[in-house]
Amino acid sequence: MKISLLKEIDVLNLDSRRRPLERLHLDTPLLFALLSAAALGLLVLYSAGRENLDLVLRQGVRLGLGFVVLCLLAQAPPRYLRTWTPWIYGGGILLLIAVLMVGEISKGARRWLDLGPLRFQPAEIMRLAVPMMMAWYFADRPLPPRLWPLCGGALLTVLPVLLIAKQPDLGTALLVACAGMFALFLSGLSWKIIAGLGLLAAGGGPLAWRFALHDYQRQRILTFLDPQADPLGAGYHIIQSQIAIGSGGLYGKGWLNSTQAHLEFLPESSTDFILAVFAEEFGLMGLCALLALYFFIIARGLYLATRAPTTYERLLAGSLALTFFVYIFVNAGMVCGLLPVVGLPLPLISYGGTSLVTIMAGFGILMGIDSRRRASPY
């Protein structure tokens, strides 16, 4: 926390004496942490993609784009964001409905909306729109929320989650649901209700199993519980991933020495399962370092949130920081066999662009919120 202490001192300084990055509304420690993770990601990707420089370059371009989006959104003053929140949310819901009606089907799911030159997943918008809407909704209401506001907030989350789950896109639905729940949690939801919801979830699990899940989703959970039941089919990912991790040992096999990835035993080695390659090459030590870096990013995000002056900003920033954690936990949990397979990438490391841009946009908003806390009217 030394860095943040320095930052505190820095904050007391005059605006003109701020560092250039701060003038750009960027948070130096967070930015460096994100850049380190991204650099590490490219390094691992080079190995996981079997030393394909082309792949690394393409991902580098995406990361660059991500940081541009981050910088752009950092410039947006939070109060404008707040004003626009309901419109963004409403538009997002409409797009989700549109996707269900006219969306393009790819890999068995209707996720994409094709608007001439622009082809995108509206669900991605909801990753940001839901925490924004939740923050907007609770900003004017006394906290902790009472029952009716609580129900209203819950409805704001549940509606897009259901729409996304219908596509189906379990990963994004989970993220959006988490974002909403984090907002609720941070808004001071009483522990009794949290406990009650927990019980409800435990009770609802079997019902969801029965009615809500698709066959392939059920199969994934069964496979997760017993990967050896179908070692060459559904369990193959999990088994090969665990072999990669386990064979890495304490110190790993060394960079570029992942046999599981290089010899193509590990599927999706450069996308969803890239953490297994990292684990194989850098061992438990490397993983601890990586998780520490992630923890720093989350902690820094939460810290920035607590410094924010208004409820809207706090809830939004806190929810964004915690949603970042969901990516990590779900992905790492899946890769090491702690959770069923859910298609969430490892942020900043996995190959792929869509979620990267969303994540970077989230951090951009977070930084924008923090840099204006002194300039805020409160």
Partner: protein, 623 residues
């Protein structure tokens, strides 16, 4: 726009609560702290899981990773080749490309076969054989569908081979017998390892080897011919494609065998026997080497290598001529009169008779006090018969007398010393021991006493007596060597493939048959020389360029086997006698000993002796 509130902390009591920014900030801080602790907890749980995988179970997963990466592939050795004594190739390895299917990897075997039919010309037979092998083999084993693919077939298949999982083209060495059927029973054949063999072989020794010697030398010298499987450790990717060779232990090729068989002589023997069912064994008496081992009829070895089709196999196995049966080794026959020289030697050696002992032959013989008549083949009788005439004229009555004087036990004793009625120990599997009866044997077998009449029958090579052509040839060689006994053998030299070094096999002497007076041998051999000069085999003696000592035999039989069923339609043929002949030559310096049996050939002198003569001529005169 957000409502701006006072900084006065209001305890909201009542229905209208107001916002309290400071309390809310504190609340948020607390919640954020709780969230951070939960995040830390969750991350620590992840670390715990990772530590479980990477530290506690590291060994386990490291092994799995290694076995993922590294595959141990067997390298099959080249099977040793087989040559005749002069270096003529009898069994070779040809490289052939074949289509192979691993049933386990094929989603729909029938559909695949139908589709392959368009690309390869598959005969009904190919498919039938394939299906048969599928049933018999483990499902993870590649099973050949078609052998010796043409370049065109390979091209046609290779284009879309990727559409057929589990189907592959493999290059293999396939056993080939260039002479086809010649010396088939001696060489034997290899075939695919079947389930029964799988039970008894050591799988490590046969890793990467699909064939095993089934009969003949291929079987008895399997361990030498096979060689030793090598291994290579290769790094493979998930598709099983080999990427890198890590370590290699080259296979050790099997040893080449040089048979004692002279394939030229073998061809003469088979040709001479043509038209008969029967056997001929020729042995070099000086070292026990089998020069020819013919069993007629013969069969082509090559179809057996990759699985003979059902119809052909049925035709071979159910043929009344029994071509697959190795008569030389396993056929048991009454020796008939060819036993007489051995009976004579037993008589002389035991002093039951001497060369000048004379018995009177009236054409019939009665045991004292019995009415059963034992006839001489010459019903008019031979008159006064000495040893020499007894052998020359093959007088049965003379040998009735000798046998009676000997008694069954002494007769049994001497015949056994000639290796009759017991396995010769030749380097082939499945030898039939035959039978030289004794009093003891009969009591054990039938719980009956031995009768003198039975001794008489044994004395002239009938009755219970049953011997194989190989035994007869071996005993003749012993006679030629005057009691020096050598185990007959088919392999005379073994060659290391890598060095080319040839190791000659030393003769394997057995305990010699010793008699107190060597003139006993002279007496018997003189008789045998006279057989060819003026006796029952005079027809081959007339133009012989060397001295032959021989003995004819005509054995009365009703069937080949004791177990064979009575068959009325074949009775006529079956009633005919077996023609036998044994001989060695040149009599004064024996280089070849021959035994011939022509089943139902009639008289030994007319049917069997000329066959032996042709073989001896070919060998001694190099004709």
């Amino acid at each position: 726009m957000p409502s701006v509130l006072t900084s006065i902390p209001l305890a909201a009591k009542g229905t209208t609560r107001l916002k309290d920014p400071v309390a809310e900030q504190r609340l948020f801080f607390r919640r954020a702290l709780v969230a951070l602790v939960l995040v830390l907890g969750a991350l620590l749980a992840l670390v715990g899981r990772l530590a479980y995988l990477q530290v506690l179970n590291h060994e386990h997963f490291a092994t799995l990773s290694e076995s993922n990466r590294v595959k141990l592939q067997p390298l099959s050795p080249t099977r040793g080749r087989i040559f005749d004594r002069n270096g003529v190739l009898l069994a070779d390895n040809l490289s052939s490309r074949q289509v192979q299917i691993t049933p386990e990897e094929v989603p729909d075997l029938d559909a695949t076969l139908t589709q392959l039919q368009d690309r390869l010309t598959l005969s009904e037979e190919d498919i039938a054989r394939f299906r048969r092998l599928v049933k018999r083999s483990p499902p993870n084993q590649g099973i050949p569908l078609k052998f010796n693919l043409s370049d065109e077939e390979i091209a046609r298949l290779a284009v879309d081979l990727y559409r057929f999982p589990g189907v592959e083209i493999s290059a293999d060495l396939s056993r080939y017998y260039p002479l086809g059927s010649q010396a088939a029973h001696a060489i034997g054949y290899v075939g695919r390892i079947d389930e029964a063999e799988l039970q008894r072989i050591d799988p490590a020794q046969y890793a990467g080897i699909s064939h095993i010697g089934k009969t003949g030398v291929e079987r008895s010298y399997e361990d030498l011919l096979r060689g030793q499987t090598g291994y290579q450790q290769v790094e493979t990717n998930a598709q099983g494609r080999m990427l890198r060779l890590l370590e290699q232990q080259a296979p050790i090729p099997g040893k080449n065998l040089y048979l004692s068989i002279d394939i030229r002589l073998q061809a003469v023997a088979e040709q001479a026997l043509e038209g008969h069912n029967g056997a001929l064994v020729a042995i070099d008496p000086r070292n026990g080497e089998v020069l020819a081992l013919a069993s007629m009829p013969v069969y082509d070895l090559n179809p057996f290598v990759n699985g003979i089709d059902q119809a052909s196999y049925k035709a071979l196995s159910s043929s009344p001529d029994r071509p697959l049966f190795n008569r030389a080794l396993r056929g048991i026959y009454p020796p008939g009169s060819t036993i007489k020289p051995f009976t004579a030697l037993a008589g002389l050696a035991t002093r039951a008779i001497n060369p000048r002992t004379v018995f009177n032959c009236s054409g019939a013989y009665y045991l004292p006090g019995q009415s059963h008549v034992f006839r001489c083949w010459n019903h008019r009788g031979h008159g006064a018969v000495s040893l020499d005439r007894g052998i020359t004229q093959s007088c049965d009555v003379y040998f009735y007398n000798v046998a009676l004087r000997l008694g069954i036990d002494r007769l049994h004793d001497y015949l056994t010393r000639f290796s009759l009625g017991e396995r010769t120990g030749i380097d082939l599997v499945g030898e039939n021991p035959g039978l030289v009866p004794s009093e003891e044997w009969k009591r054990a077998k039938y719980n009956q006493p031995w009768y003198a009449g039975e001794t008489l029958n044994v004395g002239i090579g009938q009755g219970y007596l049953q011997i194989t052509p190989l035994q007869l040839a071996s005993a003749t060689a012993t006679l030629a060597q005057r009691g020096r006994r050598l185990q007959p053998r088919l392999v005379r030299a073994i060659q290391e493939q890598s060095t080319g070094l040839i190791q000659e096999q030393a003769p394997r002497p057995l305990a010699p048959l010793q008699v107190d007076d060597p003139r006993h041998w002279d007496a018997v051999i003189a008789g045998m020389i006279h057989v060819v000069k003026s006796g029952t085999a005079a027809r081959i003696g007339a133009d012989a360029a060397y001295t032959i000592a021989g003995k004819t035999g005509t054995a009365q039989v009703f069937s080949l086997d004791r177990g064979e069923k009575y068959n009325a339609r074949r009775l006529a043929k079956n009633l005919q006698d077996h023609a036998l002949f044994i001989a060695f030559a040149p009599a004064e310096n024996p280089q070849i000993a021959v035994a011939v049996i022509a089943e139902h050939g009639g008289h030994g002198g007319s049917a069997a002796a000329p066959i032996a003569k042709q073989v001896m001529d070919a060998y001694l005169l190099k004709r």
